[in-house]
Amino acid sequence: MAWEFLTVYWREMIRFVRFRTQLFASLLQPALWMAFFGVAMSSNFNRFTSAIPPPPGVFSVDYLTFMAAGVIAMTTLFTSLFGGISLLFDKNWGLMREMLASPMPRTHIMMGVSLSGMTKSFIQVSIIMAFGLLLGVRFFPGFSPVQIAVSVIGIYAFVGVFSLGFLLFSSTISMRLETPEGLQGIITLLTLPIFFVSNALYPIQAFPPILQALSIYNPLTHLVSGIRYFALGSDFFAVGARYTYTTADVLGSFAYLVAFATVMYFLARRTFQRAVVT
């Protein structure tokens, strides 16, 4: 086994902690979403939805807790979509040619970059969960410590695979594009539908059929489902809808994300093997 991707990872992490502004912004941004958007939205949603009582015996989740999973997912999405940008900078102004001319297999470049993007997502997710607790997010209701530990691992597993898929996607585009502005444009274009045609902020049950069908193919929906399953349990009531997840549902979502990441891996690998940077 060759470990050179750890070298790429090492450098990415040096850069991550070296740029203080960037570092703090990336840590602060999800917290701000929770603090402002979350709190503002939840006071509204809780008013609307309190009119619909939960079915008897079903545990009811407040909006802030419901959308916390969405904020985790959204943050992971943004961070991962932007994760490949360092390749673009490297290509134009950095070490890409050094890496391409070295004997290191090219797949290691994208694996190192992806691993560092994943690490960043894990850090952000941890911050959201910790900060959420302060704001009153009630994850893991009535869970035993062992259940909590398992759930946290489950959430990280979902976040990990999801971010890997989008990091590889981002790496692929970055290697094919000439400018950071191009990447920015594509990301903006993509994030809107991915984010809003998903169950991140509201239930998809109320979507028109077409959007509902689309949201099923949206990886973000599967990430959010996975996080909710691990954070809130397999049967709860929120925003006027009842959520039940079977083990098969969750495994299915996970498999979908793994498949997505696999496809992205092969796309990225092809791009890297053919890349010509002079």
Partner: protein, 316 residues
């Protein structure tokens, strides 16, 4: 193609969407020598290097570097070479030491060995005091030196230097030449591109003049200059007339002109071999010499002779 050739290029051609940058060049580089590509902007020097170091795909021709075909075994080629790119390839926000460490790890040099080489090389290129400085804070010359040190870290069989002294002041350039010679003495073959005449002249064992994607002529600097013939010896003596008589009959002397400032003697072959004999002869005849000067054709003359024009943009 003896076993001593470390680079063998045959019929190399390269086309960038419709534009032919390299038009069928062939050359060899011998193990242990300093070989230069001398040519103006856009001649195809960097394109050739990029093919040799496997960054550009081989389109036409055969290229072997350090015993491996670039198309068949690019991985092997990469293991055997070091490269200093024409533009700075540095991460502005890594320190000098981190830049070296990153490179060593890319090539999987074991930790202790890697650290030792970094220390040694930073000392050689005199960047030891800057080891914790970020590369963006280095001067242009320091950046070049850092990249040379980096290129040497893996002990390559061939070191490619694409215009290593471009944009450096004359003093720094001379120092750079010193480094390059030092490196070469340790057995590393050097492939160098430049558009500085004196650089090619001073450093190289052999030169190929490249223009418009073609190699126009190759040879040692002296051979190239000597093919132009016309070395001229300027001699000032106590008695020019008598000296002129004495030199009649020296085989290589083509013509002698007398002027108030002395004799100018045109030599048909290599003037530097002929000069001692001229001096001995004049002295032998009891004539004192007050000054001797040998003017050989410069690389500029060679370039103009072969390409029919001045080297464009020689100032860099």
């Amino acid at each position: 193609m003896g076993g001593d050739d470390i680079i063998e290029v045959r019929g190399l051609e390269h086309v960038f969407d419709g534009f032919t940058a390299v038009r069928g060049i062939s050359f060899t580089v011998r193990k242990g020598e300093i070989f230069s590509f001398l040519g103006p902007n856009g001649a195809g020097k960097s394109t050739t290097i990029n093919i040799l170091i496997t960054l550009l795909p081989l389109q036409k021709g055969t290229v072997r570097v350090a015993g491996h075909d670039v198309a068949q075994e690019p991985g092997r080629v990469r293991e055997s070479i070091g490269i200093v790119f024409q533009e700075d390839v540095l991460d502005r926000d890594l320190t000098v030491w981190e830049t070296m460490e990153f490179h060593g790890r890319l090539y999987s040099i074991p930790r202790d060995e890697r650290r030792r080489r970094i220390d040694d090389l930073l000392r050689v290129v005199e960047l030891d005091p800057k080891r914790n400085e970020r590369t963006k804070n280095l001067s242009g010359g320091m950046k070049r030196r850092l990249q040379i040190a980096r290129g040497l870290m893996t002990r390559p069989k061939v070191l490619f230097l694409d215009e290593p002294t471009q944009g450096l002041d004359p003093q720094t350039r001379m120092r750079m030449w010193e480094y390059i010679r030092q490196v070469n003495k340790t057995g590393t073959t050097i492939f160098l591109t430049t558009h500085y005449m004196e650089e090619a002249d001073m450093l190289s064992d052999r030169i190929s003049i490249i223009d418009d994607g073609r190699i126009i002529v190759s040879g040692t600097p002296d051979a190239l200059k000597n093919t132009l013939g016309e070395d001229v010896v300027y001699l000032e003596t106590e008695d020019d007339g008598k000296a002129r008589e004495t030199l009649r009959g020296v085989e290589e002397v083509r013509s002698i002109k007398e002027s108030p400032r002395g004799l100018s003697i045109t030599i048909s072959t290599d003037g530097s071999h002929c000069l001692p004999r001229i001096v001995e002869r004049v002295r032998g005849a009891g004539i004192g010499i007050s000054s001797v000067n040998l003017k050989k054709p410069t690389m500029d003359d060679v370039f103009v002779h072969y390409t029919g024009r001045e080297l464009r943009d020689t100032t860099g």
